[in-house]
Symmetry: C2
Subunit: 254 residues, 2 copies
């Protein structure tokens, strides 16, 4: 029952891809080869379908065979595009960080008051998390396989932190932050300075450490809400979150 439709689907896919290939080839403007573009298209199709499946069954239930089935191709063919299931997940993680980071950045209005900007970014993170709970869990829940935090996710993962840092830095440069003694504490690395508001005498180690704390606290609060640790304790989730984020803003001096 499953052999025939699969072959048919395969044929269709084949001819369609070939058509695409010829078209592109006839156009004569391939910055990359036609084959590569076809490959990229199928890769995108796979990730899109995988993301859809992720949204319904979660990371643990994401099945390479199921995507292949829904795509009308053999499961073995998937391995031409993703060496393993974990690589597919890594791709989804990267996309997730990017989407979340974009949401946070888009919510930031540089002309608004720092405290409002801070709150807006936090709200955007929470909203995105509630809209994509499984993706959020993939990003900030337990590391999935035998876990292997891929190092290339770091830049994408820091976008939210950078958005918060930008608010902090702008506030510092506007003279809206309380004075700091500036003595180095050695708690944070030098690498965080650029993403955490840049250089400014008011942004000393203490402030940066607190910024890191509030950053993790934001996700702590979102995770607790999403994973059900707040159920029965918080009455008005929206108001509680706003209140909490304002408290955190106060912690860094905003």
């Amino acid at each position: 029952m499953s052999v025939l439709p699969r072959s048919v689907a395969c044929q269709e896919r084949r001819s369609r891809l070939c058509a695409v290939l010829s078209t592109w080839h006839r156009d004569g403007v391939p910055p990359t080869t036609a084959r590569e573009r076809a490959r990229a298209e199928l890769t995108a199709e796979i990730t899109d379908l995988a993301r859809a499946q992720l949204a319904t069954v979660g990371a643990a239930g994401l099945s390479l065979r199921a995507v292949a089935r829904e795509l009308g191709m053999a499961s073995s063919a998937m391995y031409r595009y993703f060496p393993s299931r974990d690589d597919l997940l890594t791709r989804l993680i990267l996309d997730g960080y990017d989407a979340l980071g974009a949401a946070a950045e888009q919510a930031d209005d540089p002309t608004a008051a720092p405290r409002e900007r801070w709150l807006a970014v936090c709200r955007a993170v929470r909203a995105w998390a509630r809209a994509h709970p499984h993706e959020y869990a993939l990003l900030y829940g337990s590391p999935v396989p035998g876990y292997s935090a891929p190092p290339d996710t770091v830049p994408a993962a820091t976008r939210v932190g950078a958005a918060l840092g930008r608010v902090l830095g702008d506030a510092a440069r506007a003279g809206l932050l309380p004075p700091a003694d500036g003595t180095p504490t050695g708690l944070v690395t030098a690498a965080v300075a650029p993403v955490l508001g840049g250089d400014h005498p008011v942004l000393d180690d203490r402030v940066r450490a607190r910024a890191l704390l509030t950053w993790s606290s934001l996700f702590g609060a979102v995770s607790f809400e999403l994973f059900g640790h707040f159920t029965g304790a918080v009455a008005d989730a929206d108001a509680f979150f706003d209140d909490a984020m304002r408290d955190l803003a106060g912690l860094v001096g905003l």
Copy 2:
């Protein structure tokens, strides 16, 4: 190759259990029947082995068949004790909450100063998490299957929060907390009052909301450290954590 040893192991298990049964029966003090106690013993053996496996391969890799194999029994026999793999995990979750809660409670010295008590509890949580990363991930990471937060885990899950709340309540009763206006905000439910320090005029809705925030922030910080979100940003993890927890203590007025 696998049939013979399994049968042998089964025989051994059988006779050993029977011996236990007769012994208990001869003692004549079975509050529960002898069979039930044997059953309880095997159940404990299963959970112990499962916990050991969880510690090595993580929740995602925990395999009922592997536990059965290591125990020398057929995988199908496991289902006499746990209806499903998720039930086994639920059991481990419960045990994990209990262990973590016990660690937090044990670290609390009621005679010490509130700020020190607070810090001690937080440190205990972090230490337990670092010592049992996979169990911690099971508790505070992504809800595992299609997720199904079992409601009977709630009392066990609140033990850490209750420990922090006790510190807060004792400080309030000792007059060590700043005054509060006491106007209800409606952010938190009435159910949290008992576990968050009890009743005291100084413990108003605002303080309780902040207590919930710091509670989630504690786990946010621990999760970020454990799941690698702090790598490259925090230089001295121990000192950073202590500093962060003191900041959080300040947030609730300690």
